[in-house]
Subunit: 213 residues, 4 copies
């Protein structure tokens, strides 16, 4: 028999008796007026890196796309379904967000797969293999750096991939134009699951640094 998981149901009851009580007026207002988030976050599906948790954000604050390894594909105006491009278009054109954050994290399973040239497909469809194939040009450059340890290559690609996604964001005409007009800013960040540290990308150099205390 199909049964809704108790852990979800109990969590939902905690929400209703806790945070919802505090913020019921805000939820009602957000339902009436619609959402007006200022930030689009492109994050990973990973269970340890939820943006709302890391940024302690409440309802209405973050419009969030989550896919494996927080990737942004390049602009491809063909006839296909593009989950990430659709969310990007909606956030920028309809919600008029002012900031887009690509947020990666340590120990990312997708990045790990992208670095493993011998990875077996997880299923005959090989969806992960194809999805992470988006990083192939940059992943190969990192794989070639054999002098680095595996963990160092992983961290390098996690960060290179964020820069790569930001480059891809700029292939979308609407993003590029609004950035040139100063109406939208693109950001990168990387979250260290183990220590809870957030490393922020310097827009000028591409380097990741922890914010000063």
């Amino acid at each position: 028999m199909n049964r809704f998981p108790d852990r979800l149901l109990n969590g939902y009851r905690n929400f209703m008796s806790g945070r919802y009580v505090e913020q019921s007026a805000r939820y009602r207002a957000l339902a009436e007026t619609g959402q007006k988030p200022k930030t689009l976050v492109i994050a990973c599906c990973d269970s340890r890196a939820a943006p709302e948790t890391i940024f302690d954000s409440g309802p209405g604050e973050l419009f969030v796309v989550r896919n494996v390894a927080n990737l942004v594909p390049p602009y491809e105006p063909d006839g296909q379904f593009h989950a990430t491009s659709a969310a990007l278009e909606f956030a920028v054109q309809s919600l008029k967000v002012t900031d887009i954050l690509v947020m990666g994290h340590g120990r990312c399973g997708g990045i790990s797969a992208a670095l493993d040239p011998d990875a077996e497909p997880l299923s005959p469809g090989d969806f992960i293999g194809k999805w992470m194939g988006m990083l192939k040009p940059v992943a190969e450059q990192i794989q070639g750096a054999e002098i680095l340890t595996q963990a160092e290559r992983q961290r390098a690609l996690e960060r290179v991939s964020i820069r790569n996604s930001i480059t891809n964001l700029r292939t979308f005409p609407c993003v590029r134009i609004l950035e040139e007009k100063g109406r939208i800013q693109l950001h990168g960040a990387w979250f260290d699951i183990s220590r809870g540290e957030l490393w922020i990308m310097d827009a000028a150099t591409g380097d990741f640094k922890r914010p000063s205390e």
Copy 2:
């Protein structure tokens, strides 16, 4: 000058001085051992419906895909990038989740666009138009029900779309096989932003009901 948003930085500092302090051991353990979430949630990008908030869940609990209108496309093993299928494959084959939840919500902008036959493309790429086109066969049936009010058609499509995504989940061989073996369960839920209510889909009938208190 590009500047990381203060609201995010302040939120992050709240996280570090609050929830992270409480759960630092858990974060460290999750970094060491890797994630082992039991649940895949397919949710909407909407800023008012974050699964971690609604299910009051901590790090390591939910593997979360978020796209506009929480859609699952049908199985298409072609050469394209498929964000949602890749995440599904990873969750089922690699993480071996035991439950998949498709979670919709009220006042969904994507569903609203799918019901508007005169919707203008948001950009020349028309990514939202194409993405929501995935619902065209069912959206047309709802549009034809002119006896319903607009709000009723919206709520109807929000729920029909959840059932449609669950049907599409079963086109993935790995999901169908594991469901038949009783090793995975598929769930639907719908969240009422205004009242904070969670409505759970009855697997047998497809009806949505509030859980008893």
Copy 3:
């Protein structure tokens, strides 16, 4: 007129009226019995990374070689002067240290020079060019990783160079034999000048990690 710098003289007077007063018995004993340090540190000349400061160590604790970029050359039993090899031999064979630490640091000027293929010689003798040429085989691999930022390549080589020096330590028969007998251990560490953080090399993987609090 040649004049001994006041800043050194004043510093020396601080030492005499401060730390020396506290530790005069220890200095006297160390003069009588000779030094018996347990640790050889191979560190950089950099003015921001003195081992005695970073390890808060007192007289008699650390036997310290300092050269540009904390390099260990490979074993070369020829007729030349080998400052580092001589210190290594003395520490291991005569002082019988139990631990050897190669300690690098961030923003190292020597490493920076090793990564710059167009660096001009600092003088006709080009001593820095030749000295850092010891890293040429590994530096070239890092230079090739053009997908990394300059700061990322710098940090990568700072760490690769530590591992390289540890590899070179093992080319010295006395080190290799004592390590095999379990009488000596080799360590790597990297110091972040800006934040004061010490990152310790995992001997098994070569990765650098901060010690847990």
Copy 4:
């Protein structure tokens, strides 16, 4: 199992909770702007004679080479690795130090080896033997002074060697030219471990004297 020494880890924690707290702004500034030390110190590896301790100096003050017996070899622009010459070149040409101090000390093990004509090689490579061989011409003259006690010969060579290193410093064209222009000064000092006394070389006569109080 390889284990980072607790004594170093505890010392580092003392540094972080003590001196680093006081000087974190200085460390950050030194990381941002780079080091600008005014003094190059050529000192011995001996664990009882760390220049930063004896001159009570903070981060950024001293650029420090340490080799066995604080030797400076003569200028040899060949193809070899020269640790000390490379550091000298870097300090003078790149950092533009204004003072170079050769600092010896009492009871120096390297000097003691240089005075022992029957010293056995410490290892087949005989690196110490070759390194101290740099002093052979002056050591033989001291050995011949049989009227002196062994301790007197030791102290004599410790001081002769400092003068010899200063002579060698002047074989480097960049040092000689800058000294002639009055832009760099060369100093000698000798540290008495037992009493904590610093003896400073008189540049005109070569004599070592204690500074007046």
